[in-house]
C-alpha cells in the first residue's frame, strides 16, 4: 500500500467536494493510502505569484516541508496545485541561491526545505504506482466507448522544463488513462489551449470568450463530455455554460466531468454516491451512455 | 665548447639616446664584465656598416657571442641573426635587447637611473649568451601529397588547386558520388548558376582556358593528373606526423567496376528491388543498383548493399553488357602517405522533427529546403514540378518558415547565415517558373548581407512574393481540406494570421555532419561549441587548425555560401602548398627536452602541453618517461612550469640562464626605489612593455623586465628565487586568460601566482609583493600604471628582510 500526503488546496474543498469524493474513493480502491496532514495551506498559485513570486515559493515550500517531515511524497488533485508545488520543488532543489533565500524565510516558522520529497499529480500516481493494466483489471463498469474530450488544462504540462510530466506538444498520459477506462479520447481543435479560467474576476468577458471557444470546439468534434483535472477549468467550463447561455444566448449542454469521477464510476462506484448534483450541466446523457 | 668571448654592440640611435643614457659609462662598465671581449657604440647595428662591424668581429674570431642593444629589436634581430649565422656563428649565441623602449624612453626623466638599469639589462643579456648552447636546425620530411576529406564544393576546389600545382592529391568521399550538398541543392544564389557549374573548379583540364565556369562533367575533373578520387570511402586512422602522415582509408565495395561501367542503365531496368529514394527526399523510388542524378561523378553505378538480394537475384549481372557488376567485391583498406590533410566535410540540415510544433516528419506536406531543391531540380524526382507529397497535386500556395532550429536557444543558438538567401532563391525560382503560385515567407529578420544579396531580396518583392514578419508558433493541419495552416502573428500589421498552405517549407538550421565528432577524434582536431571544426584563428589564421599540416575549409567550419566556400577552399590549398612546397620542414630546435633520469612518469606534462607534443614512452625497464616531439613543440615552456621535479627544460632558455638573468637584472640598482622584477611573456606581456615605451609613457627604473616565452613557464620556484635575488616585488605580465598565445600558459601562471602568494604568507612575507597582470599590446598605459602602482605599494610595505 503506497501512501501519499494528499494536498487538497483551496478550490476543491471550498467548491468541488465531488472531486475530492470521487478521488478518495477511486484511489483507495486502487490501493493508494491518502494521508491528511495538519496545517497545509494554499499552494500559492498564479494569483499570489502575481503579488509576490518569492513569497509564493516560500508558501509552497512550507507545504512541501510538512510532507518532508511526515516522510511522505505529495499527491495533488488540482493541476494548479500540482504546478505551484512541483515548480517550487524543482526550482528550490536546483537553484541553490534561491533555496537559501527561501529557507531564510522558512526559518521564521521553524522549517527548512530539504528537497528530498516529490510532488506528484494523481495521474502520475496512477501510472507509476498502480499502472494501466491494474486499472483495467479493476474496471467493473467500462465506459462503453464514451467520446471524451480530454482537457488536462495548462498546468499539468507547462512549464515543461520544471514539471517534466509529459511531452508538452504530444501528451499521451491523460488520453491513455481515459482510454484505459473503456472510453475514447477524441481529437478536437486547440485541445491543449488554456480555458481562460485565471482571468475570471478580472476580465470576465475575455475569460468567457475563451471558455466558449472550448465548448464550441468540443461540441463540433462530437464529444459526449469534457473531462477535466483542474477545478478552475471545471468551473470555467461547467458554470461557464450558464454564463454563455445568458451572455451569448447559446446552449450547448456539454457535460463536464472530472477524470476522478469517470474513474470512480468505471471502478464500480455508484454515481449516486458521488455528489454529482454539484454539476451545473447535468450528467444524465453521460450516465445513460455508460449504462 | 670554447670559452665565451662576448661582443656587445650598443646602438645610440643617431645619438638620440645619448642625451639620456651615458654610453661611455655603460661601455666602461661592460668592459669590466668577465668574458666581454668587445664593446662598440654606434648609430645602429642592424644593417649597413654597423652590421658589418658585427660580422667582421665574428669572422675574425674576436667574438663568439653577440649582444646587441638595438632599436626596433625584432627587425634588427632577424637581420643580425641571419648575418651572424652566415658568418658561421650559431644563432642561439645572439641576444638582441631594446634599451630604447624599455629604458631610455620610459625613464627619460631620471637619466642616471636609466643608465644603471641599462647596465643591468646588458649584464643579463651577457649572462644569457654566456650560458647558451648551440641550437640545431632540424629538418623533417614534407611529402608533397595531400589528403582532402570530403568531395563537395570545397573539397573539389582545394583538390584541383593542389593537383594543378603538382602535388599528389587523394580526394576521399564517403558517399558513392562527388558533389555533396552542392549537387543536391541545385542553383546557387545570387547568380543562380546550376549545381553542375558550381561544384567544379572552373578550369578546362589540359587546355589553358579562362572561362568563368565549366560544367563539371565537361571539365574533366577526374582526369586531372595527380588527382585520385576515392569515393565510397572513409578515414579510419591517422598516424605519423605533420609532413608525413600515414592514413588508413576504408573503401566500401561498390559492387560495380569503375573501369568497366558504361552508364547504360540496363541494370536498373531489370532490378526487382525498389526502395524509397532518400537522396530525392523519398519523392520517388529507386532500385538497389542506382545513380543519384543523370550526371554523377564518378560515372559508375553503385549497389545499395542493404537492399540488394545479391546472388539470390543477380539479374543485373546477366544483362550488363560489359560485365561490370562484381557482386563479390569486398571492403578494402588502403594506406595513403600524405604530407598534409584538408578537411572539407561540409554541413547538413538539422533534423527538424524535434521541433514538434512544426510537425516535420508527421505531416508529409511539411518539407525542408533541401527537399524542395530536389523538386526544383529539372532532373529531380518531380521533373521540376512543385507538388504536395501527400497527394502529388501541384502546390499553389507555399509558405516558407525561417529560422527553424536556428537562432533558437532550445536547439542551435547561432544564425545559419545562408537560409534567408536560400528561401529567396527558391521563392524566386518557383515564382519565375510558376507565376501563379502564392508564396509567403515568414521571418524574424531577412539577412541579405553579401554582395548582390540585397538586389536578390528586391527582386523577390518585385515578383510579388509576400513577407510576414513573425515566427509561426505552430503548423496545423485541416484533415478535411487536406490543407496546412500556419499560425503566425504579423507583427507589422499587429494581426494574427492563419496562412493556408499546400506546402510548408522549413529553413532548418545548418549543422555539422553526423560523423564530424568521430573524424575530429581521428585527426585530433578541436570542435567549437556548436560542433564545427575550429579554426586556429578566424582572422589571422583562417582555414588553419592548431595542428600544423591539417587544414579545414568550407561548410565544415561554419555554414557559408558558395563564394565564401570557394575562398576557404583555395586558402586551405595555398596553405597546404606553402607547408609542403620545399619538400621539407625546417625548424630551429627551440624546443623542450626531457632529462630521463629525473622524469617520474607523472603524466602532468603530456596533459598540459597545448600542442599535444609530449607523449609517454615505455623504457626497457618498464617505467615511462616523457618524450617531446620536436616538430610539434612550440617552445613555450608550459611543460617546464608544470613539471614538479624539473625534469624538462627548454633548450633556448635553460634554468641556469633564467637564474643568471634574474640575478643580473637585480644586481645594479642605482635608484632609491625598491627593485621589482617583472616576468613578461614574449607575446602580449612584453608587447605591453614595448608599447608603453613607444608611447613615451613613464614608469620608474626600478622595474626590471625579464622576458620569458610564456608565463606558463614559471614555477613557484622562480618567483621565490626572484625575491631571494633581491627583488622587493614581483610582477607577472601575461596575455589575457582567454587569449593566451600559447593557449593555456596565462591561466597556469595565474594558478602559480596564487600558490606562491600562499607560500609567501607562510614565510611571513606580504603576499601583495606578488601580482599578476593580464595585458595586451594596446595597454601600454596600463603597464606603466601597474609598474608605478606596484612601486608605490612595495615602497609602502617597506624593505623586505630575508633571513
Amino acid at each position: 500500500m503506497t501512501s501519499y500526503a494528499l494536498f487538497l488546496g483551496c478550490t476543491i474543498p471550498a467548491r468541488q467536494p465531488h472531486y475530492e469524493l470521487a478521488a478518495r474513493k477511486a484511489l483507495t480502491k486502487l490501493g493508494i493510502e491518502l494521508v491528511d496532514l495538519d496545517n497545509m495551506t494554499c499552494c500559492a498559485p498564479p494569483p499570489l505569484q502575481s503579488i509576490d513570486l518569492e513569497t509564493s515559493l516560500a508558501i509552497a515550500a512550507y507545504n512541501i516541508c510538512l510532507a518532508e517531515e511526515a516522510d511522505l511524497n505529495i499527491v495533488t488533485l488540482c493541476t494548479g496545485c500540482f504546478e505551484s508545488l512541483a515548480m517550487a520543488n524543482t526550482l528550490l532543489k536546483e537553484k541553490e541561491e534561491l533555496r537559501e533565500r527561501v529557507n531564510k524565510i522558512l526559518l521564521s516558522v521553524g522549517k527548512e526545505f530539504k528537497g528530498n520529497k516529490e510532488v506528484k499529480h494523481f495521474l502520475q500516481v496512477l501510472m507509476s504506482d498502480v499502472g494501466l493494466s491494474n486499472i483495467k483489471k479493476n474496471i467493473t463498469k467500462p465506459l462503453n466507448k464514451l467520446k471524451v474530450a480530454a482537457f488536462s488544462g495548462c498546468h499539468l504540462l507547462r512549464p515543461s522544463a520544471l514539471l517534466r510530466f509529459d511531452d508538452p506538444e504530444r501528451p499521451r498520459i491523460f488520453d491513455n488513462l481515459i482510454e484505459a477506462l473503456g472510453a475514447k479520447s477524441i481529437l478536437y481543435k486547440n485541445k491543449l489551449r488554456c480555458c481562460g479560467g485565471l482571468l475570471r474576476g478580472y476580465a470576465d468577458d475575455v475569460a468567457l470568450a475563451i471558455a466558449r471557444d472550448k465548448i464550441v470546439n468540443t461540441t463540433r468534434a462530437g464529444a459526449d463530455c469534457i473531462s477535466t483535472l483542474c477545478p478552475f477549468c471545471f468551473l470555467t467550463l461547467d458554470l461557464g455554460q450558464m454564463l454563455i447561455k445568458t451572455t451569448y444566448k447559446e446552449e450547448y449542454n456539454m457535460p463536464v466531468i472530472h477524470y476522478a469521477e469517470l474513474l470512480s464510476i468505471s471502478l464500480g462506484v455508484n454515481p449516486k454516491e458521488l455528489a454529482l448534483d454539484f454539476h451545473k450541466v447535468k450528467l444524465d446523457p453521460v450516465l445513460n451512455k455508460i449504462g | 665548447m670554447e670559452e665565451a668571448k662576448i661582443g656587445v654592440f650598443l646602438s645610440d640611435c643617431g645619438k638620440q639616446l645619448a642625451g639620456i643614457l651615458d654610453f661611455k659609462g655603460i661601455a666602461g662598465y661592460l668592459k669590466k664584465v668577465p668574458q666581454v671581449s668587445l664593446v662598440a657604440v654606434g648609430s645602429e647595428f642592424r644593417r649597413g656598416q654597423g652590421l658589418k662591424t658585427i660580422v667582421d668581429a665574428v669572422k675574425d674570431g674576436k667574438i663568439n657571442r653577440v649582444v646587441v642593444a638595438e632599436n626596433i629589436p625584432k627587425l634588427g634581430e632577424i637581420n643580425i641573426v641571419e648575418a651572424v649565422e652566415n658568418a658561421g656563428l650559431n644563432p642561439n649565441f645572439v641576444e638582441v635587447i631594446d634599451i630604447k623602449d624599455h629604458c631610455a624612453w620610459p625613464h627619460r626623466d631620471t637619466p642616471k637611473e636609466a643608465t644603471e638599469k641599462a647596465k643591468a639589462m646588458l649584464l643579463a643579456a651577457t649572462e644569457r649568451v654566456k650560458l647558451a648552447e648551440p641550437i640545431e636546425k632540424l629538418e623533417f620530411p614534407a611529402l608533397k601529397s595531400v589528403l582532402v576529406v570530403g568531395g563537395g564544393l570545397a573539397g573539389m576546389q582545394a583538390a584541383e588547386d593542389l593537383a594543378d600545382m603538382g602535388f599528389k592529391v587523394y580526394l576521399v568521399e564517403k558517399e558513392p558520388f562527388l558533389g555533396g550538398l552542392a549537387a543536391k541543392a541545385g542553383r546557387f544564389f545570387p547568380t543562380d548558376d546550376c549545381a553542375i557549374c558550381i561544384q567544379s573548379p572552373a578550369s578546362d583540364v589540359k587546355t589553358i582556358t579562362h572561362t568563368s565556369r565549366k560544367c563539371v562533367y565537361r571539365s574533366g575533373f577526374s582526369e586531372i593528373p595527380n588527382l585520385n578520387v576515392l569515393t565510397n570511402s572513409r578515414i579510419l586512422k591517422v598516424e605519423g606526423a605533420p609532413g608525413n602522415y600515414k592514413v588508413t582509408v576504408e573503401r566500401k565495395p561498390r559492387y560495380v567496376s569503375e573501369e568497366k561501367c558504361v552508364v547504360c542503365d540496363l541494370c536498373t531496368s531489370v532490378c526487382p528491388v525498389e526502395v524509397p529514394d532518400e537522396y530525392n527526399a523519398r519523392l520517388k523510388k529507386r532500385k538497389a543498383i542506382y545513380i543519384n542524378t543523370p550526371l554523377v561523378y564518378p560515372p559508375v553505378y553503385v549497389i545499395d548493399a542493404e537492399a540488394c538480394k545479391f546472388e539470390e537475384c543477380a539479374k543485373c549481372v546477366e544483362v550488363c553488357p560489359t560485365k561490370a557488376i562484381e557482386l563479390s567485391q569486398k571492403s578494402e583498406k588502403v594506406t595513403l602517405n600524405v604530407g598534409s590533410i584538408i578537411v572539407a566535410t561540409g554541413f547538413r540540415e538539422y533534423d527538424s522533427s524535434v521541433i514538434k510544433e512544426y510537425h516535420y516528419g508527421e505531416y508529409p506536406d511539411v518539407i525542408t529546403q533541401l527537399e524542395l531543391a530536389r523538386m526544383i531540380d529539372g532532373f529531380g524526382p518531380t521533373k521540376g514540378m512543385i507538388i504536395r507529397p501527400s497527394d502529388r497535386k501541384p502546390a499553389k500556395r507555399i509558405v516558407f518558415v525561417q529560422c527553424v532550429g536556428s537562432r533558437d536557444r532550445r536547439w542551435n543558438p547561432y544564425c545559419s547565415s545562408i537560409c534567408c538567401m536560400i528561401s529567396l532563391k527558391h521563392a524566386t525560382l518557383i515564382k519565375s517558373a510558376f507565376p501563379d503560385t502564392d508564396i509567403t515567407i515568414c521571418y524574424i529578420d531577412i539577412r541579405t548581407t553579401g554582395r548582390e544579396h540585397e538586389y536578390y531580396y528586391e527582386r523577390a518583392r518585385e515578383m510579388g512574393i509576400k513577407f510576414v514578419k513573425g515566427r509561426p508558433t505552430e503548423i496545423l493541419h485541416d484533415p478535411e481540406a487536406n490543407l496546412l495552416i500556419v499560425d503566425v502573428e504579423d507583427e507589422l500589421l499587429r494581426r494574427f494570421l492563419e496562412l493556408e498552405a499546400d506546402l510548408v517549407v522549413l529553413s532548418p538550421a545548418m549543422v555539422p555532419v553526423e560523423d564530424a565528432k568521430q573524424l575530429a577524434e581521428v585527426l585530433g582536431l578541436e570542435l567549437d561549441k556548436d560542433g564545427f571544426f575550429k579554426e586556429y584563428n578566424a582572422k589571422l589564421r583562417p582555414t588553419e587548425t592548431k595542428k600544423r599540416g591539417i587544414f579545414i575549409c568550407g561548410g565544415a567550419t561554419f555554414p557559408k555560401d558558395a563564394p565564401t566556400t570557394s575562398l576557404q577552399a583555395h586558402s586551405a590549398a595555398v596553405k597546404a602548398a606553402k607547408f609542403l612546397l620545399s619538400g621539407k620542414i625546417v625548424k630551429d630546435q627551440k624546443t623542450a627536452y626531457v632529462n630521463e633520469d629525473y622524469c617520474g612518469d607523472c603524466e602532468f606534462c603530456p596533459v598540459t602541453c597545448p600542442y599535444s607534443a609530449i607523449t609517454l614512452t615505455e623504457k626497457a625497464d618498464g617505467h615511462f618517461v616523457a618524450h617531446v616531439d620536436d616538430l610539434l613543440c612550440e617552445g613555450c615552456g608550459v611543460c617546464v612550469g608544470t613539471c614538479p621535479v624539473g625534469a624538462i627544460e627548454l633548450r633556448h632558455l635553460k634554468p641556469s640562464q633564467i637564474l643568471a638573468q634574474m640575478k643580473a637584472l637585480l644586481s645594479v640598482n642605482g635608484t632609491s626605489k625598491p627593485l621589482i622584477l617583472a616576468f613578461c611573456c614574449s607575446e602580449c606581456g612584453h608587447a605591453a612593455v614595448d608599447s608603453s615605451g613607444m608611447a613615451m609613457l613613464r614608469y620608474p627604473a626600478n622595474v626590471r623586465i625579464m622576458r620569458v616565452p610564456c608565463t606558463g613557464i614559471l614555477q613557484v620556484q622562480h618567483i621565490l628565487e626572484a625575491f631571494k635575488a633581491g627583488a622587493q616585488g614581483v610582477m607577472i605580465v601575461g596575455c589575457k586568460p582567454d587569449g593566451c598565445h600559447y593557449e593555456v600558459g596565462s591561466q597556469k601562471a595565474q594558478k602559480k601566482a596564487e600558490i606562491a602568494k600562499a607560500l609567501l604568507k607562510e614565510y611571513g612575507i606580504e603576499s601583495e609583493r606578488l601580482e599578476m597582470f593580464n595585458l595586451v599590446y594596446m595597454e601600454g598605459d596600463k603597464f606603466a600604471e601597474a609598474a608605478r602602482a606596484m612601486t608605490e605599494k612595495v615602497e609602502r610595505l617597506g624593505v623586505l628582510q630575508l633571513a
Binding site: A14, C42, P46, I51, L53, T55, P168 | R471, T473, E491
Partner: protein, 172 residues
C-alpha cells in the same frame, strides 16, 4: 501619431529593474519574433493583450505604460509562450515580475486585493464556508484538517508581504 515616443518618457534601467527581479531575468533575450503572441490564447481573443508588445514596451523603458496599463493583468498563465519561445525567455514569469513591480508601485486590480486578504486571514485564497465544512460528513468525507494560518501569516510577515500596499488600483 505625431508625438510618438516623446510623449511617453522612457525610464532608463527599467529593463535592469525587471532582470533584477525573480522571474524577470530573461526579458532582455527577446528578439521580437512574435512566437509568444501567436501562441497566446488571450491575444487571439482580444487585442487588449499581446505579450510581445508588453515586452517591447518594457525593453524600450516605457515603464508607466506597462505598469499602469491593464494589459499585464490579462495573462492567463498558461505558459504556452514560455514553451515555444526560441530564446527561452520566461515570458509568463516575466509577467509575474511586472505584476510584482506594478503592485509595489500601487497599481493592482481589486480581485488581487481580495486574494491577499483571504490569504492573510485564513491561509487560503478561497475561503471555505462553514456550511460546506459540515456537509462533508454527509458525503462521507473526513473532516478538514486545520489550515496553517499562523504559519502563513508568519511567512508573509517575514517576507514583508504584508507591507505591500494593497491599494485598490485603477487598472482597467
Amino acid at each position: 501619431m505625431a508625438e510618438g515616443i516623446q510623449k511617453k518618457t522612457s525610464t532608463k534601467d527599467f529593463a535592469k529593474e525587471i532582470t533584477g527581479r525573480l522571474g524577470g531575468e530573461t526579458i532582455t533575450l527577446c528578439y521580437q519574433c512574435g512566437t509568444c503572441a501567436a501562441s497566446c490564447p488571450v491575444a487571439k481573443i482580444t487585442d487588449k493583450y499581446n505579450p510581445r508588445e508588453i515586452i517591447r514596451l518594457a525593453l524600450l523603458g516605457l515603464k508607466d505604460e506597462v505598469l499602469s496599463g491593464g494589459a499585464i493583468w490579462l495573462c492567463s498563465s498558461c505558459y504556452n509562450c514560455q514553451e515555444r519561445c526560441p530564446q527561452k525567455v520566461e515570458i509568463a514569469d516575466v509577467i509575474y515580475a511586472l505584476r510584482n513591480i506594478a503592485i509595489r508601485e500601487g497599481n493592482m486590480p481589486n480581485i488581487y486585493a481580495e486574494f491577499a486578504a483571504g490569504l492573510m486571514s485564513e491561509g487560503r485564497i478561497v475561503p471555505i464556508s462553514k456550511f460546506l465544512e459540515k456537509k462533508r460528513a454527509e458525503f462521507g468525507l473526513p473532516p478538514l484538517k486545520p489550515a496553517g494560518v499562523e504559519a502563513v501569516r508568519k511567512i508573509l510577515s517575514t517576507a514583508e508581504f504584508d507591507k505591500i500596499q494593497f491599494k485598490k488600483g485603477e487598472a482597467q
